[in-house]
């Protein structure tokens, strides 16, 4: 039976694509533009308040899921770009490098978010 495990990586890739498209622009606009450059941030950007929000468990979980899936999205995309650029012969090596990179990032995110 020809049932490729690519299905698994692709499911992370597509879920990560949804996460990245849905949340990343909002995060970037909020933390990169709105809060620092408008008066909306004056009260809210205070360290204690942000810390309070981020360490609330539901927020930690959401952030973790967003980071984890987005990393695997990137890894899968980079692997396929490299394959298309002619590295198809070493696709197993690419897969190992890209996905273990994403896994390392995921562990780091778990550590950071868990110890905040």
């Amino acid at each position: 039976m020809n049932r490729s495990n690519e299905a698994f990586w692709w499911s992370l890739f597509s879920a990560g694509g949804v996460m990245a498209a849905l949340f990343m622009p909002v995060f970037i606009v909020l933390t990169g533009l709105v809060l620092p450059f408008t008066t909306a941030g004056d009260a809210d950007l205070d360290y204690d308040r942000v810390h309070q929000v981020v360490t609330w468990w539901p927020v930690r979980i959401v952030l973790f899921v967003v980071v984890f899936l987005s990393l695997f999205h990137c890894a899968h995309r980079i692997r396929h770009i490299l394959m298309d650029l002619g590295l198809r012969a070493v696709s197993t090596v690419l897969a190992a490098l890209c996905y273990s990179g994403a896994a390392a990032g995921t562990v780091a995110a778990l550590f950071v978010l868990g110890t905040l």
Partner: protein, 248 residues
């Protein structure tokens, strides 16, 4: 042709039995506003050079046999007008990503084998063929109708950048056709087709470049069909891994 408007066609020539060299040959062809590229090729065949070989049949975008590269783009030559290029020369070449048999004629063997591989017919568990038609509601028809409009013109294979890198890639039209039967309420063959569809060289060969959908003259949207087939293959994979004892 004195005084008459003309246009130059730069035509790819390859005759394996002669010199075996691929060359480009220029032909000056009368220019008419209502002529398509295929009319110009037929004029060459009838008046200038009877040795030129190319495929065509219906002249109206139905048979799918006249696909060629026109100035580097995969087109049905019966559907592209000279006036869209005039007065510049038009280069006509065989579809890329296929072996050339002769002049503008490509070999379809590999493509036909891929179509055949996905079992593009209604598969039923019934032992006996039914005495009457299988009934279907308009909404069941709407599920797959778009994917059934394919005329096998192979433009999508010429447009797809993955075919070049993965020669065994099942390709847009064959995957869209498999998906068309999988979506058909009368069909029961999804698991049989999945054996071909779920592989590395099938749906997973596609990285969603989308060129197949861009060139398709019948709005089949093969890229959309492949994405849907990826979702179906992913569900199949999880079902197999999480419920290995379940129904295959």
């Amino acid at each position: 042709m004195a005084g008459e408007a003309t246009i130059t066609l730069e035509v790819f020539r390859y005759r394996p039995d002669d010199d075996g060299e691929a060359t480009i040959q220029d032909y000056r062809v009368p220019y008419h506003e209502h002529w398509v590229v295929l009319d110009a090729l037929n004029w060459i065949k009838d008046h200038a050079d009877g040795t030129l070989s190319f495929r065509w049949s219906c002249r109206m975008g139905v048979c799918g046999s006249c696909g060629m590269m026109v100035n580097g783009e995969a087109k049905l030559t019966c559907a592209v007008f000279l006036k869209d290029y005039y007065p510049s020369a038009i280069r006509v070449e065989p579809l890329i990503n296929f072996p050339v048999e002769r002049d503008l004629v490509i070999s379809m063997d590999d493509f036909l084998a891929k179509l055949q591989a996905v079992k593009p017919w209604l598969i039923r568990d019934d032992e006996e063929p039914p005495g009457a038609e299988y009934l279907q509601t308009p909404s069941q028809l709407a599920q797959y109708q778009q994917f059934s409009m394919c005329i096998n013109c192979m433009l999508c294979y010429a447009a797809c950048p993955e075919i070049d890198g993965i020669p065994d890639f099942l390709g847009p039209a064959a995957i869209a056709l498999a998906h068309r039967y999988n979506l058909d309420s009368r069909d029961q063959g999804q698991s049989e087709r999945q054996e071909v569809l779920g592989g590395e060289e099938a749906v997973w060969g596609c990285t969603f470049v989308g060129e197949c959908t861009a060139v398709c003259p019948k709005n089949v949207d093969p890229a959309g069909a492949i994405q849907q087939a990826k979702v179906a293959s992913t569900k199949d994979w999880y079902r197999h891994v999480l419920l290995p004892w379940g129904k295959r």
